[in-house]
């Protein structure tokens, strides 16, 4: 029976589960956070508290993709627009009613020691379980010398972290901005400053799109726009990479709360496998509501059960050793694409993808056969298509579609099932990625008969690296 409770995160934070709400609109006030806890969230990072701001309208925009709403989400909203005392009073109330749940105070104040000392004390006095220093907000606040203006300069980040640590009695998490060429530099600075943990990533600078009627980028504020912060499913791969970079760097690695495009238990498991101790969610909740946490908890539990993991610690970080530098990959490992004729539906997307986007080794010649023996010559896709469109088709007079059931060994006519030329296939995966049918194209290992060899091994001690060979 798996136990998904978190114990002693960043030193002393216990949480009913690893699922926290990120500092954002879903954690704007105490009423929301208590409903979230009722729905099953283990913790919440309060929407960043600081000198109240004035926001604009509109504030959000999104990138839709292929009929799906909100592949990526963008905002130009600032930190809390509510008074510090209101937020803190409600925080005290929440902690009183939900002592087992985690409330983290996200903080952002002017960059001087006194301001930080004051806010730290006030937040901890009302019962915050930890502090998250918002060094990440990429818009608006950064123009005022806060948020990512701090997070992009390691020295500032270290300095403020040190100020906070002078007063803090609870764990201090530093929230990192991805809008920097190497996120590890600031992570290391936070660690040097004494941070107990990290949160990553904050949102990515973005312009989501432009209204092609008015020519104004979105979100539109009275005919103008401003860059915002990008999040949602689109940023998950970027976030995972940064999480891996941080956790694989001994000078940077700290207890990490993973953020970036997490919307279900699979996403959460992936962040944990790269070393995160907790995960934070915002966009998916803004899209679907707090209720998504039910499946996150159930799904993670079921997956852990099937894998034999009893606690989060059992699998945390297990994928980290599987990430290496390119030069340590085995050059003699070879896979080729195989097409399952029984599953193929004949869309021929693998064919055109391989011809135009890869290595011209998926052919439509199962019926006609190779044209020219060992060295194969094939008509280009354009020629094939032209031939097809020159054919004369008439609707059949036999109108009895009842009898037009599938005949033959495959559901798809053999002429439409592509063939992989395995001697030419480089095993790039493209066809299996474009194939719309699960498990129709699989990548199968072929024995090269060669021992494993990496680029590093091949060129070690070589006088002249092989770049010059090209």
């Amino acid at each position: 029976m798996p136990d998904i409770r978190i114990r002693g995160f960043a030193g002393k934070i216990d949480s009913p589960n690893p699922f926290w709400l990120a500092s954002a609109p879903p954690t704007n006030c105490g009423e929301q956070i208590m409903r979230a806890f009722d729905a099953g969230w283990g913790g919440a990072v309060w929407k960043t508290i600081g000198e109240p701001v004035t926001n604009v309208s509109s504030r959000y925009s999104a990138t839709d993709w292929n009929g799906q709403r909100i592949m990526g989400f963008n905002n130009i909203e600032l930190i809390s627009d509510r008074r510090v005392e209101d937020n803190l009073r409600e925080m005290a109330e929440v902690k009183k009613r939900y002592p087992q749940h985690v409330v983290i105070a996200s903080l952002m104040v002017a960059s001087n020691r006194e301001s930080w000392h004051e806010i730290v004390v006030r937040a901890e006095d009302v019962g915050a379980d930890g502090l998250e220093l918002n060094f990440g907000c990429p818009h608006g606040m950064s123009e005022r010398g806060m948020g990512s203006a701090v997070g992009q300069v390691p020295e500032y980040a270290q300095m403020i972290t040190e100020w906070v640590k002078e007063k803090a009695r609870t764990p201090v998490l530093v929230k990192l901005t991805p809008n920097i060429s190497d996120i590890r530099t600031v992570a290391r600075a936070a660690k040097r400053g004494g941070a107990d943990g990290l949160s990553a990533i904050n949102t990515i600078n973005s312009i989501t799109g432009i209204d092609l009627d008015t020519l104004v980028p979105r979100p539109i504020v009275d005919g103008k726009s401003s860059h915002g912060g990008y999040c949602g499913p689109a940023v998950k791969p970027i976030a995972l990479n940064m999480v891996q970079q941080i956790m694989s760097d001994s000078d940077a690695a700290l207890p990490l709360s993973g953020i970036g495009g997490i919307g279900n238990w699979r996403d959460a498991a992936e962040f944990i496998l790269l070393g995160c101790g907790t995960v934070q969610v915002c966009t998916a909740v803004m899209h679907y509501g707090y209720r998504i946490v039910e499946d996150m908890a159930e799904g993670l539990d079921n997956w852990m059960r099937s894998k034999g993991f009893n606690t989060i610690e059992d699998f945390r970080g297990l994928s980290l050793p599987r990430v290496t530098e390119w030069k340590h990959l085995n050059l003699n490992y070879r896979i080729v694409a195989r097409i399952d004729e029984q599953k193929c539906i004949g869309c021929e997307l693998c064919h055109i993808a391989c011809w135009d986007g890869a290595h011209q080794c998926i052919h439509l010649d199962r019926v006609t056969g190779p044209l020219n023996g060992h060295i194969e010559l094939h008509p280009t896709p354009a020629i094939r298509e032209a031939e097809s469109r020159a054919s004369i088709v008439e609707t059949t007079v036999a109108r009895n579609e009842r009898e037009s059931a599938v005949v033959g060994p495959y559901p798809t006519p053999l002429a439409r099932i592509p063939r992989v030329d395995e001697t030419e296939c480089v095993g790039c995966n493209l066809c299996s990625l474009v194939c719309p049918v699960d498990q129709c194209i699989t990548m199968v290992r072929v024995d090269t008969g060669l021992p494993p060899e990496t680029w590093d091994e091949r060129t070690r001690g070589a006088a002249c690296p092989a770049q010059t060979q090209s």
Partner: protein
């Protein structure tokens, strides 16, 4: 000058509300996004006119509706009516690869209609070659889909085309013969108007029914395209067939579509089991007939109507009488008709009456719907145009007949297939005529 039109008839519109309403704009985009964008797509191959289906669908998804419509029209000038009347279940949508994944096929017809409706409501006209360049003169006899497609293609490529139609309205069966809930006569006429605006000339009320008319045609035009369709509907060949109250399916359909019949009452018996029989039976129900029987001498599995047409008729409330054959029509008291029928059974290839199974149906209208006879007399008089089994013999690829000045396509060649087949044939014939003329002038 515009082609003749029909007045809007709200009662007709209400009774024959569209079977498949148009997609809302967002629904169209969502549906378009489902398309896999197959390479060398089977749906395109299955369309007789080879419309670039994934191409026009992806243009809908991207919001390029004008490009989508032009993509359709490039292959099929009657893309609007084909979107409504094509039996897509056995054509493009039937070929959709999603079937093999047990998923619903892409709703190609509705997407095509979406693009075409947007184009037509934009009011944009299609470009044709400049009229000054029109040296080749072609007469297209018959105003149906084959001729329309042929004439449009000719105009588009710089020839002059004149459509000669014996009826007052153009469009052939698109205007007069398709169930109104699939394609409204007014929509057919709107489509013809677009073709007219490309420079196609129309002559209405002109029948080519004499040697003199044929000679006049030959002296005025370089080539003659025959898109004359099929002949009159087959007769039942039973006593009393000419009684008042007997009206064949095409007469019934044409009459209600142009407003000559607005209501029907009582009991209607349709004889036959093809798609036209179903259209007539459904029409009778929608026009108000309380009881509609469809009488067929064979069984359910032998009927030539598409499965979905059969299912539709059942939903409309049409009752099917299987293995029953009409033997006579009498006029009874109060002017009602008495249709004498007998149950039959198939022995080997023959249908034999079952003794003591006679049954008389008292009804108000009998609608023979057992197919169209092959051809009007016109063809017999055309010099050198070969006819076999009632169909004009024409080369499949070019539509050229045994007389090289004559080309033909559509039902008069293929014996009665779909609108889209007629369009494809008309287009192929136009291209062949242009090529022939090019060679001659070279």
């Amino acid at each position: 000058m515009s082609t003749a039109t029909l007045p809007d008839d709200p009662q007709l519109r209400e009774r024959f509300s569209e079977l498949k309403p148009a997609l809302a704009p967002q629904a169209a985009v969502i549906e378009a996004d489902r398309c896999l964008y197959c390479f060398d797509a089977p749906c395109t191959a299955a369309c007789p006119t080879h419309i670039d289906v994934p191409g026009f669908i992806k243009r809908i998804a991207s919001g390029n509706l004008r490009g989508s419509a032009l993509r359709i029209l490039d292959a099929n000038i009657l893309g609007s009516s084909c979107a409504r009347v094509c039996p897509v279940e056995v054509l493009c949508e039937g070929a959709c690869v999603l079937h093999r994944q047990n998923r619903k096929p892409i709703q190609i017809a509705l997407l095509q209609r979406h693009a075409m409706d947007a184009f037509q409501s934009s009011g944009e006209l299609l470009l044709a070659a400049p009229t000054a360049s029109r040296k080749l003169r072609v007469a297209c006899v018959g105003g149906g889909p084959a001729s329309l497609a042929c004439a449009a293609e000719l105009c588009r490529r710089g020839a002059q085309a004149t459509i000669i139609e014996r009826r007052p309205l153009p469009g052939g069966l698109n205007t007069y013969g398709v169930a109104e809930y699939k394609l409204r006569a007014t929509d057919s006429l709107r489509e013809v108007e677009m073709i007219r605006s490309m420079g196609v000339e129309f002559r209405f009320g002109v029948a080519i029914d004499s040697a003199a008319a044929v000679s006049a045609l030959e002296s005025e035009f370089d080539s003659i395209f025959l898109g004359v369709g099929l002949g009159a509907m087959q007769r039942l060949g039973i006593p009393g067939e000419d009684s008042k109250g007997v009206m064949n399916a095409l007469e019934l359909i044409a009459a209600y579509k142009v407003g000559h019949i607005r209501e029907m009452h009582g009991t209607i018996v349709v004889v036959g089991a093809g798609n036209t029989a179903i259209d007539a039976a459904n029409a009778a129900r929608r026009l108000g007939a309380e009881t509609v029987y469809l009488l067929y001498r064979r069984g359910r599995s032998d009927m030539s109507a598409f499965d979905f047409e059969y299912d539709h008729a059942k939903q409309e409330g049409v009752q099917f009488l299987w293995r029953r054959q009409p033997i006579a029509i009498r006029t009874g008291e109060y002017g009602r008709l008495l249709l004498d029928t007998v149950q039959v059974q198939q022995v080997d290839e023959r249908l034999l009456p079952i003794p003591d199974s006679h049954f008389t149906i008292e009804c108000d209208v009998v609608v023979p719907a057992i197919g169209q006879s092959p051809l009007a007399q016109l063809i017999q008089g055309l010099r050198g145009v070969g006819v076999r089994e009632g169909r004009i013999v024409a080369d499949l690829a070019t539509g050229q007949t045994d007389n090289p000045r004559y080309f033909a396509a559509g039902d008069c060649v293929n014996g009665g297939r779909e609108v889209v087949d007629a369009v494809a044939g008309g287009k192929r014939a136009a291209l062949a005529m242009l090529k022939t003329a090019e060679v001659a002038h070279a």
